[in-house]
């Protein structure tokens, strides 16, 4: 009888345990598979790229904005350090300066060393920056406005600049800042325009001639957009050949 009871109780116990483990096992308590983990890692890496892009946008704006703050106070050495070794700079109609040392020489020779000069306001403000980080993650472009408030009056210019990321650090590859409208304080753009610069206007002479000939206000020129229309994706059409002329619209 005891032998019979033992067998029943043992079998009963085994049966209960077997049933329990089937039950437990059937509620999907398998350890996460390698595939599960790989899927999560892939998602986190993709998100990492997108988050890096967000930081890239801030970083190129920082370089552009820092440029403006350095110009304000004649900090030409610091300014030149924002440029890659082989970068180019073209401001107004002065032509192209190639390489970081020439960026420094242009600023220092044209505008003088010694930091800010009493009585000489040269605030070169950086507005409305529109950055585009390219798919490769190491090149970028930006369109900005330089809004100048100076002892001489007003300036409004566009930038279309290129950046490169070297060893994880974003820096200018090309600064291209054609003038748009300069005017004196007394009458402003009503009738006191200041003409564009040209290569021989003041020293130093450039390394290369201007990349584009254009007219400033009161004439018309549009520095091409580096980006397509954010909604339609369309490239920018050319302006009317009559833009800037008296015949426009007639």
């Amino acid at each position: 009888m005891r032998h019979f009871t033992n067998r029943i109780s043992v079998r009963l116990l085994s049966g209960v345990l077997a049933a329990a483990s089937v039950l437990v096992g059937s509620v999907a308590y398998a350890a996460p598979s390698t595939a599960d983990l790989a899927a999560v890692e892939k998602q986190l890496n993709a998100l990492g790229d997108r988050i890096t892009r967000l930081q890239d946008m801030t970083d190129v704006e920082i370089v552009q904005h820092a440029y403006g703050y350095y110009v304000d106070k004649g900090q030409w050495r610091s300014l030149s350090e924002l440029f890659s070794e082989d970068a180019t700079l073209e401001i107004g109609g002065k032509g192209v300066f190639t390489g970081r040392p020439r960026v420094f020489q242009y600023m220092a020779e044209a505008f003088g060393l010694g930091g800010p000069k009493t009585g000489s306001l040269i605030d070169h403000q950086q507005f409305q920056c529109l950055p585009t980080i390219h798919e490769d993650g190491v090149t970028a472009e930006i369109r900005c406005i330089a809004f100048v408030m100076s002892s001489g009056g007003w300036g409004h210019n566009y930038y279309e600049d290129d950046f490169v990321k070297k060893d994880g650090v974003w820096q200018f590859k090309k600064l291209h800042g054609p003038f748009n409208m300069y005017s004196g304080y007394k009458l402003g753009w009503f009738d006191q325009v200041i003409v564009n610069t040209f290569p021989e206007k003041f020293l130093p002479f450039p390394d290369l001639p201007p990349t584009v000939i254009y007219l400033t206000y009161p004439s018309y020129y549009i520095e091409p957009f580096h980006y397509p229309n954010p909604v339609t994706g369309k490239a920018m059409p050319a302006p009317s050949p009559r833009a800037g002329g008296e015949a426009f619209g007639r």
């Binding site: 116990l13 998100l47 000489s120 605030d123 920056c129 833009a243």
Partner: protein
């Protein structure tokens, strides 16, 4: 035999026991994986939200670059098909074709030509100081902007423009578009004399010439009078919604187990921190914009509420005000709450350089303001640089230190070069809590406002020349 018969079920039981324990451990891993997947989903949603802020900023800036140069069709293309544009008190224009014509007529362009402007036309409309709120469901957004205009026709007219914009946007299948723009024109002032010499406009009779020739499709949602009357365009965040200035609260990530799941949990920690910092940059852009818009209209209490409890405010040589109540006192040096009639107090917030600390708890930023003032019929230009500090207060960013260094003040009529104006000393009737931290003179004297950062590219100290 008997031993075997007893051992088998024992071993069987032990195996089941281990399997059950193993299942409990697997259950723990399963819930860890589930939690991890939840975090991945939340990171993805927040990344999309921060990307959306940058897309809205891009839309507004692209709009400005198009309208500057007579690309009015391209500007109108930034709107939804049934998008609307409310111009001042003129009324509402509906649909892209009408918006294109509206912009063309105000901008001096041509409906017949390819893009462009005629000789002598100036239509510079800078789109500045965005304050962007993305809705929680990611389907819509709103933003407040400032438009600063340089307008005119060579040898005929030169005008300063000032407007506040409140936009609504929709996410149309992943493409953000402008659904409605409310353009609250504040003034168009002649260059000679400027805004300080504008006369009050009786009632609401200041319809633009464009609207007379090109009537709107519907009346404006509200009437108001332009400057010198002080009008506060409604804020899209008037309900107290602070989403725009919020980011991830600071956290100390726990030490993760040293297993495969633990390594992924740590990776998620790193992503959350990096994302939190990227989000914080935009939250601080929004905070500075929000502050600026309150200052514009003399809303000292609302501006002071954006400071932390021990936050400090220092303006020029006026000394330091500590704590919200004191900050409000310090702000009131600019004028009465709500400003007085004919008072302009525009502080344009631009050119940010924002660095969020590695732990996302604090931040520093350099900013600039251009300043347009008018009081008692006298106009003034100003300019200056901020070096501010911010604190992440349980996910809401606040000023811990605002320090505005005056570069210059100048009389409007004569200009800053001919007639610079000195800074005020500390007030004796409304004194600061502490004296100025830095003593200096403004233009014609110039000095470098100390930088919170080293050279962003070389990492070297900032040079003197």
């Amino acid at each position: 035999m008997r031993f075997l018969r007893r051992a088998v079920p024992l071993v069987w039981g032990l195996a089941m026991g281990i399997a059950l324990c193993g299942n409990v451990y697997a259950k723990d891993e399963t819930s860890r994986l589930a939690a991890l997947n939840q975090r991945v989903k939340a990171i993805a949603e927040e990344t999309t939200q921060v990307e959306a802020i940058t897309r809205i900023q891009r839309l507004g800036r692209a709009f400005g670059y198009y309208t500057d140069k007579g690309y009015f069709g391209e500007a109108a293309d930034l709107f939804t098909e049934d998008g609307t544009f409310q111009w001042g008190v003129d009324g509402i224009y509906k649909g892209k074709a009408r918006i294109r014509e509206l912009l063309t007529r105000h901008g001096g362009g041509s409906m017949k030509e390819a893009p462009g402007l005629p000789f002598g036309r100036l239509n510079l409309r800078m789109q500045l100081q965005p304050m962007v709120t993305i809705a929680a469901d990611g389907k819509s957004a709103q933003a407040r902007w400032r438009e600063w205009g340089l307008l005119g026709q060579y040898r005929k007219v030169a005008t300063w423009g000032d407007a506040i914009v409140e936009d609504r946007y929709v996410n149309d299948n992943g493409v953000w578009k402008i659904a409605a723009r409310a353009y609250y024109l504040n003034f168009e002032a002649p260059y000679q004399g400027g805004w300080a010499k504008l006369q009050p406009v009786p009632g609401s009779n200041w319809q633009s010439d464009v609207a007379k020739a090109f009537p709107p499709d519907a009346p404006a949602t509200q009437q108001y009078a332009p400057f010198p009357t002080v009008f506060v365009p409604p804020y899209h965040y008037a309900d107290g919604n602070l989403r725009a200035i919020q980011s991830r609260p600071p956290v100390d990530a726990p030490k993760r187990p040293d297993d495969a799941l633990g390594r992924l949990e740590a990776l998620a920690d790193a992503r959350e921190l990096a994302l939190g910092r990227a989000h914080s940059v935009r939250a601080i852009e929004n905070l500075q914009a929000m502050y600026g818009y309150y200052i514009d209209k003399g809303q000292w209490k609302k501006a002071a509420a954006l400071f932390s409890k021990q936050g400090t405010y220092e303006f020029g040589q006026s000394g330091v005000y500590v704590g919200n109540a004191s900050v409000e006192r310090g702000l009131s040096l600019m004028g009465p709450a709500g400003l007085e009639a004919g008072q302009l107090n525009n502080y344009v917030m631009v050119q940010p350089i924002i660095h969020v600390a590695p732990d996302n708890r604090t931040a520093k930023a350099r900013w600039r303001s251009d300043v347009q003032l008018a009081r008692a019929g006298q106009g003034r230009w100003g300019g200056g640089v901020y070096e501010n500090e911010y604190v992440n207060d349980a996910g809401t960013w606040k000023f811990s230190k605002l320090h505005y260094y005056v570069t210059f003040w100048g009389d409007y009529d004569a200009g800053w070069a001919a007639k610079p104006i000195a800074m005020d000393p500390p007030s004796t009737t409304n004194p600061p809590d502490k004296p100025p931290t830095v003593v200096y003179e403004s233009f014609p004297k110039l000095q470098v406002v100390p930088y919170h950062y080293l050279n962003p590219v070389s990492g070297k100290p900032n040079t003197v020349e």
